[in-house]
Amino acid sequence: MARFSIIFAALAVAACAAQQALAPAEPPAAPSFDPALVRKGAELAALGDCNTCHTAPGGKPYAGGRALKTPFGTLYGTNITPDPETGIGRWSGAAFRRALREGLDREGRHLYPAFPYEYYTRLSDEDIRALYAYVMTREPVRASPPPHELRFPYNVRALLGAWKALYFRPGVFQPDPRRSAHANRGAYLAESLAHCGACHTPRNALGAEMKEHAFDGGEAEGWHAPALNAANPAPVPWSAQQLFTYLRTGLDAQHAIAAGPMDPVVRNLARVAEEDVRALADYFAALMPGRGQTPEAKADSGGPGAAIYAGACGTCHDRGRDASSGSALPLAFASALALPTSKNLLRITLEGIAPPAGEPGRFMPGFAQALTDAQVKELMRYSRSRFGGGAPPWDDVDEELRKAREDK
């Protein structure tokens, strides 16, 4: 860590020279935007999952305030409604574009890369215009998020200039002329707006993505974001159609049910053009050649975990989807059982899955109160050995269970 601090200090001098503030603009009137452009912006905002970080739980959309826990402290999503005082009402289109492209706010200060400008920099001008039209026609909300709570030295914003010099590569997406328009669309979305790698690619100690490990699997808010390449551990290889179904509905009967930070992503993807979700699904399905085995549960080994499984889980999961809700997939198919870490299965087990009001399909009750830590560990051990497809036992259960309990 000391070494990084020195690099930071050195680069700070070079790179953190203040950027220019852009002139404040009068908040544009909503009717000044073409409704078709606003509609397009709405879809793009959904593809970008923008509302998730910029909306507090139970709060007004885009008014900010949602806490994002990172290894460096807690960041709060900003208010991007067109409120002139607390939102971005005085941001011109140029200021908005610069924020996405260069990671600078209107006053010229560096933005934390939790705002994934590493991806947004690749957006086309036209898409940025549409996004601007969309956010500037939202309901203005007067609301200031709490200040970020970051540890030193991460709370020194100017040092972000150094970070950017090391890791940030601005530049618009360049389509590959050898690929089809559909394939380029998938690549464009995945590598820009949808910012999939922001969670699914591992990061280094300074929070920068390890590009040589693209889509090897990363972490987001205490959850593991599975590998989206050949390292994907799904027992049944993902077909493009299955991936499409999953991204669209949050549920694929042979793989997974969306939970944790992926839950809002699929909710947003339910709202965009089907073709765009297909493009994303095709892009990633091509990156995940599977091993093609039919998963099978091992024989029940008995013991305390078996009784817990039978009484708490088997009621739904042993019968599969047909008998019951849309969500009870047989665990031998479940990706969460095959991951290198227990954290996702732990979090799903403790907190369950609660879809938004009125949305059918995904549901699971949580067991945080019903099961003691010792019982949760028994259940993890039993489930991994019976349904994990021969993967080794998890060695991180104690640590991850502690973290999961603390996060609640």
Binding site: R39, P61, S324, S325, S327, P356, P360
Partner: protein, 716 residues
């Protein structure tokens, strides 16, 4: 001679003769005119009141006790009320249609008044005083000189075994002691402390447990079954198989559940293809013109089509029944809405004489119409017959209740109107709906009976005639127009099983009519409340509308961004309670989420026996309708129902609940009881749609108003 023997030996003839000779007796007295069918008084003064209606959670027991206590001048606590039991109580058909107060309440009110008059007459003779000199209180009749006689002393022999005489004298409605008071519900303390109140709680000595294995779809039939392994499971007593009907009985309840799962896994079914998806307007139908006041083919000012999906009763507790078959007699404890019709259906299904079947009502989870309660009664009958001498309890699993209950019919309506001088001149309304009544009576309306080796065929779809109507309930607007045409396309063969769901077609028709009234008000640039009043001359209708608008603060309403207000009104069945509702909603444009913030309602159900009970029903009606209207649609694929639990059929949860609902009860002392339970559902749905339109400018015409649908309507 007991009451049943009386009926069996020609009493019915006497009744019909007496009916011809005299004016019609009020309420259910017309069906059961003997006073002691309703009220009996023991020598110890104990008063027992009988009703053929059942407590469904609507608070009917409390209200009926109040009515009896009022007229008999006793404390409500002194009255024992016996509800629906084919061996003990009058036959009042179904507890449905918000008719318990108008039928049973009216019967008990008049019977009690007549009993009291008879007692006063007897006491007057005994004391040799004119009746006016006597006072009645606390179950006794007193003379001014200190002499008194209790009811128990006065009632002798066959005093009450006589037919009621119309019109029975009634107490002065201005001097009510018990009626009109919000008496605390008599059933609530036991329910809130875990006393065994529900049929689900019934545990008889020696009782065993059954679970059914329903086919995976309605059309599937059993092809093969291996039972050997299941028979050896712990506690298993019997596998009941009759054709494609399948159930298992075990000593312990969870043993039955485990055996049922194993049995389901061991069964193979022939899956006959069904086509459940259908365009309602292409289904076979019978057309009836309900109103045709003048032929006109004008240039319409507005036209709109509204849609409603199949929707579920969705009782929180799946249906349950306990059966006992002993010495050729069957007893079934059931939460059916109609013990007599179920008794008849079970007798037919089992080939037993009716007199060998007894159905006793016990409370269940709220049913909201014809849910699987009767089916569970049939399950209990079949399992009990297979295991004579032991009480067998059948509890449906959640998936069986969801997938097999009869749904509220999908419907489509089309409204057209022409405005002239700010008023509606011509009104044309058409509706397409399946049946809203496929209850037993016939055994063919019990799902288990379809599966038997010798199956019972479903009887042809039934219409409920006007003026109450089924799918066409409330299809005729109460408003006055120069010309009106209303047409009902009765769909005779629905792809999904359908029957009565609370308020039947009124929910959809009121939603359509009251949405369209707002669309027309907008076209006429009129205030929606004032526009309704322009077309109404019924003073009680006008009063509930004005009252709801006032309570809501309609006149001084200040609209905030993202919010809007909506109004709606109907008189249920055009002959029961009047109800008007105003509500305010907030629509989150980006997500498409709709939240009802508050609602104000006014209701006039005639003389209010228990105002808080009425408020409870109206609040509940609004919230249930909010759930239907925002969230609910039965889902299915080509062959089977896919709404099989609360994850696949989501309903209202607490975070969606408004901040406030207030209900004003307009009581009309002395006026007939009109019934309350289904008055609010239609107006609540339309008020919601109208408020969304006010908030956003977007008109939602297809139920449910899910977030994606709202976003689509907003073009967001």
């Amino acid at each position: 001679m007991n009451r049943r023997q009386f009926l069996a030996t020609g009493g019915a003839l006497v009744v019909s003769f007496s009916l011809r000779a005299q004016p019609k007796l009020p309420g259910s007295l017309a069906r059961e005119p003997l006073l002691d069918s309703w009220i009996r008084i023991g020598a110890d003064g104990g008063i027992t009141v009988f009703t053929g209606k059942a407590e469904l959670g609507q608070g009917i027991k409390t209200a009926l006790i109040q009515v009896a206590a009022e007229e008999l001048a006793v404390e409500p606590a002194r009255i024992e009320l016996v509800t629906a039991d084919t061996a003990r109580t009058p036959d009042e058909g179904y507890t449905a249609g918000s008719q318990s107060m108008s039928e049973s309440g009216t019967a008990i009110l008049n019977a009690a008044a007549e009993v009291r008059a008879k007692l006063v007459e007897l006491a007057a003779k005994r004391f040799a005083l004119p009746p006016e000199r006597l006072s009645v209180a606390n179950g006794a009749i007193r003379a001014g000189d200190g002499r008194s006689a209790s009811y128990g002393e006065l009632v002798t022999g066959e005093l009450l075994h006589v037919k009621a005489q119309p019109p029975a004298a009634r107490g002065n409605p201005r001097e009510r002691a018990v009626i009109g008071k919000s008496l605390a519900r008599v059933d609530i303390p036991a329910k809130l402390t875990g006393a065994p109140i529900y049929v689900q709680d019934l545990r008889l000595p020696g009782m065993v447990h059954a679970r059914t294995v329903r086919p995976p779809s309605h059309a599937a039939r059993l092809a093969a079954l291996r039972t050997a392994a299941v028979e050896k499971m712990p506690g298993v007593l019997k596998i009941v198989r009759d054709g494609s009907y399948l159930a298992v009985v075990a000593e312990r309840e969870y043993q039955a559940v485990s055996a049922m799962r194993a049995l389901a896994a061991a069964a193979r079914w022939n899956k006959q293809q069904e086509n459940l998806h259908s365009d309602l307007q292409r289904l076979p139908s019978q057309l009836s013109v309900l109103v045709e006041s003048e032929a006109a083919a004008p240039a319409w000012s507005a036209e709109a089509t509204y849609r409603r999906p199949y929707q579920m009763h969705g009782s929180i507790g799946p249906s349950c029944a306990v059966g006992l078959y002993r010495d050729g007699n069957l007893t079934v404890w059931t939460h059916s809405q109609g013990v007599y019709p179920l008794r008849n259906a079970l007798a037919e299904m089992l080939g037993l004489p009716k007199k060998r079947v007894r159905c006793i009502h016990m409370e269940g989870s709220g049913c909201y119409g014809h849910n699987a309660a009767d089916d569970a009664g049939a399950d209990a009958a079949l399992a009990a017959r297979a295991l004579p001498g032991r009480p067998v309890r059948v509890h449906l699993m959640r998936e069986d209740e969801h997938a097999w209950e009869p749904y509220g019919s999908a419907m489509l309506t089309r409204a057209r109107a022409r405005l002239e001088g700010g008023k509606i001149a011509d009104w044309h309304y058409e509706l397409w709906s399946g049946s809203h009544s496929s209850r037993p009576g016939p055994a063919g309306n019990l799902a288990p009976a379809w599966l038997l080796e010798k199956p019972f065929a479903r009887p042809p779809a039934q219409q409920i005639p006007q003026p109450t109507g089924g799918g066409d309930r409330n299809a005729i607007p109460l408003y006055r127009f120069a010309s009106t045409r209303v047409v009902h396309h009765f769909l005779t063969a629905m792809p999904l099983r359908v029957s009565a769901l609370r308020s039947l077609g009124a929910y959809m028709n009121v939603f359509s009519i009251e949405s369209f009234m707002d669309e027309l008000a907008q076209a006429a640039r009129a205030d929606p409340v004032e526009f309704r009043l322009r077309h109404l001359d019924d003073p009680r209708a006008r009063e509930v509308i004005r009252t709801a608008a006032e309570r809501f603060g309609w006149a001084g309403y200040r609209k905030q961004r993202g919010r809007g207000r909506g109004f709606a009104f109907a008189r249920y069945k055009n002959l029961a309670a009047y109800c008007a509702i105003a509500c305010e909603v907030e629509v989150e444009r980006t997500s498409g989420q709709v939240r009802m913030l508050r609602a104000s309602a006014a209701i006039d159900s005639g003389e209010a026996v228990n105002p808080d009970g009425i408020r409870n029903q109206v609040e509940g009606g609004i919230l249930q309708s909010l759930s239907w209207t925002l969230h609910e649609a039965v889902s299915f694929d080509a062959s089977r129902i896919t709404s099989r639990d609360w994850a696949s059929y989501p309903i209202l949860r607490f975070p969606d609940v408004p901040e406030r609902i207030d209900v004003e009860v307009i009581s009309r002392p002395g006026a007939p009881f009109l019934g309350t339970g289904e008055a609010a559902q239609g107006p609540a749905a339309a008020a919601l749609a109208n408020a969304i339109a006010d908030a956003t400018g977007a008109r939602l015409r297809e139920i449910p108003f899910t977030a994606p649908r709202v976003r689509q309507a907003l073009g967001a």
